[in-house]
């Protein structure tokens, strides 16, 4: 009776995962979809604890209760308290926790379940994938929060990484084939190798590609969970894990496409590294700059202003002040829109989340395809902390590393104002011809302080 009831719990959980994910694909139903998934998860967890068949000592129940209690409080507080700009690293951290959980399950089960091939394979697979996902996510977390802010490149890291990957997988396969190698010592070696590989895999990858890596590691953890489901014949773990594995892989590919990069060039390539200097910086030219007071007048008497926010806006925490400027301009009868490039910010969609946080109306955020035709009828484009996503080299210069990436065609507007801290190149490390365009004026300075004075000037008009 209990067992079949438990199966029903898992069935419900599996269905809610599918329905929840589907609903999360639409802005109207997304929030409900997430809650439905959470509901199914709760059913699966409670069912596993309370519908268990067989005698279990009280102390174990107490331990489970305690760890769930601590985890719930810590997870809840972390998720509620963290600033919206820190979202990507938090997702990476939680992902690492899931990977570690899968690896720990394998560590515990190895002594019991290493005798049969049918259980040994999922135990080892869970161990390898879970560990890679854990150590990789931790490195991604450290990179995103700035602790590890350089792309560390050991000499010929591609070869070293590949060799370590082959040794790791080879050892795993050997442990399955050759019973003499199927011992605790080798299992711990496998654990150490997997953790090492996770570190080496992420360490050389530059900041701009981090979203892709997190998404990839996300699908790894899904895979690790699926192997756990295979081990126990647990359908909820299987559906949850496989869904995230395949959906995560697709999401990774979509992200790569938006940046016009292939997955292999993210993993093996050299974006953001010193070697990737392309473009035609020599043709340079002179840049104009503009004073805040002049810009305020220019914007105040415009019909239409489009704001192009980039990660620089988020770093400077200027998303609130930009909303204030938008409100002032609207009260003067200026039409204001935001043009969001698919990869603006640190993750696709990240910029939308940040602007939504400062209560910018969702309807004002326009995606690239719909806003591009509007630039020609725009008086002022204000580019704040964005660079590569407005670089015309992506369309005109085949030698540029970002050639082919779809960009926001801001150069069609009458006036282009670019706010940057300095003339330094963006993530991709390439020069931007837009800055030398005769219609472009530079507004140098920290986004938050410059925009604050712009808001004050506007109010005074």
């Amino acid at each position: 009776m209990n067992v079949s009831l438990l199966e029903i719990c898992y069935l419900i959980a599996s269905l809610t995962f599918v329905i929840g994910l589907k609903m999360m694909g639409n802005p109207k139903t997304a929030r409900k979809g997430n809650l439905i998934g959470a509901g199914g998860m709760t059913a699966a967890i409670l069912g596993t604890i309370f519908l268990h068949d067989g005698q279990v000592p009280m102390v174990i129940y107490a331990l489970i209760g305690l760890s769930i209690l601590i985890g719930t409080i810590a997870g809840w507080v972390a998720a509620r308290k963290v600033a919206m700009t820190k979202m990507p690293e938090l997702v990476s951290l939680f992902n690492g926790m899931g990977g570690a959980c899968a690896a720990l399950i394998s560590l515990i089960e190895y002594p019991h379940l290493s005798q049969q091939t049918s259980t040994l394979v999922p135990v080892l697979a869970g161990l390898i994938i879970g560990s890679v996902s854990f150590s990789g996510s931790m490195i991604a977390f450290l990179k995103l929060n700035g602790t590890l802010n350089k792309a560390v490149r050991i000499p010929s890291y591609n070869i070293v990484n590949t060799v370590i990957m082959i040794i790791t997988l080879g050892l795993g396969v050997m442990m399955v084939i050759n019973p003499a190698l199927n011992t605790l010592t080798y299992m711990y070696s496998l654990l150490a190798l997997s953790l090492l590989y996770g570190i080496l895999f992420v360490v050389p990858i530059g900041g701009a590609d981090m979203p892709v890596v997190i998404s990839l590691l996300n699908s790894f953890t899904g895979l690790a969970a699926a192997f756990g489901g295979f081990l126990y014949g647990n359908k909820a773990m299987l559906t949850g894990g496989i869904l995230v594995g395949s959906a995560g892989t697709l999401l990774t590919v979509i992200m790569c496409k938006a940046m016009n990069r292939s997955l292999s060039s993210v993993i093996f390539g050299a974006f953001g590294g010193s070697s990737a200097v392309g473009g035609t910086s020599s043709e340079g030219g002179t840049v104009k700059d503009i004073q805040v007071a002049d810009l305020a007048v220019l914007m105040n008497y415009s019909k239409k202003v489009i704001i192009v926010p980039g990660y620089g806006l988020a770093v400077a925490q200027a998303q609130h002040i930009i909303h204030e400027i938008e409100l002032i301009l609207e009260s003067r009868g200026v039409e204001v829109k935001y043009a969001i490039h698919p990869v603006a910010g640190r993750m696709p969609g990240h910029m939308n989340v940040l602007l939504a946080e400062s209560s910018v109306d969702y309807g004002k955020l326009s995606e690239m395809e719909e806003i591009n035709p509007e630039f020609s009828s725009t008086d002022v484009v204000l580019v704040v902390g964005a660079n590569d996503v407005v670089n015309p080299a992506a369309k005109t210069d085949p030698s540029s590393p970002i050639y082919g990436m779809p960009i926001l065609e801001v150069e069609n507007a009458t006036h282009i104002i670019v706010n940057k801290r300095s003339m330094n190149a963006g993530y991709a490390g390439i020069d931007n011809q837009l800055f030398y365009n005769s219609k472009t004026s530079m507004l140098f300075g920290d986004a938050k302080s410059v925009l604050t004075s712009l808001a004050n000037e506007l109010k005074a008009l």
Binding site: L21, A44, L63, L93, L250, P348, E367
Partner: protein
Amino acid sequence: METIFTFIQQNIDMIYFIVLSIFVGVEVIGHVPTVLHTPLMSGANAIHGVVIVGAIHVMLNLKADDYIMLTLGFLAVLLGTLNVVGGFVVTDRMLEMFKKK
């Protein structure tokens, strides 16, 4: 060759299940607007927290005096909970902002 055929025959239901789940995963993500990529990634992140079910299962089958394993199991459940709770709460927080005013 023989062993592969036996394996397929014995696990045919599982193979169907896995292949279909992969397609469902791909289809479900199909036409998602860019705006929702970050929340979706975060939501998927929460869902793979289902691995906690395995961790609880492991704990329930341990002996009460196997202290080392109990510690590892405790840690596994704790980390799994962090993944699940943190993942769903953070996703909800992101999506809460997309409310139309």
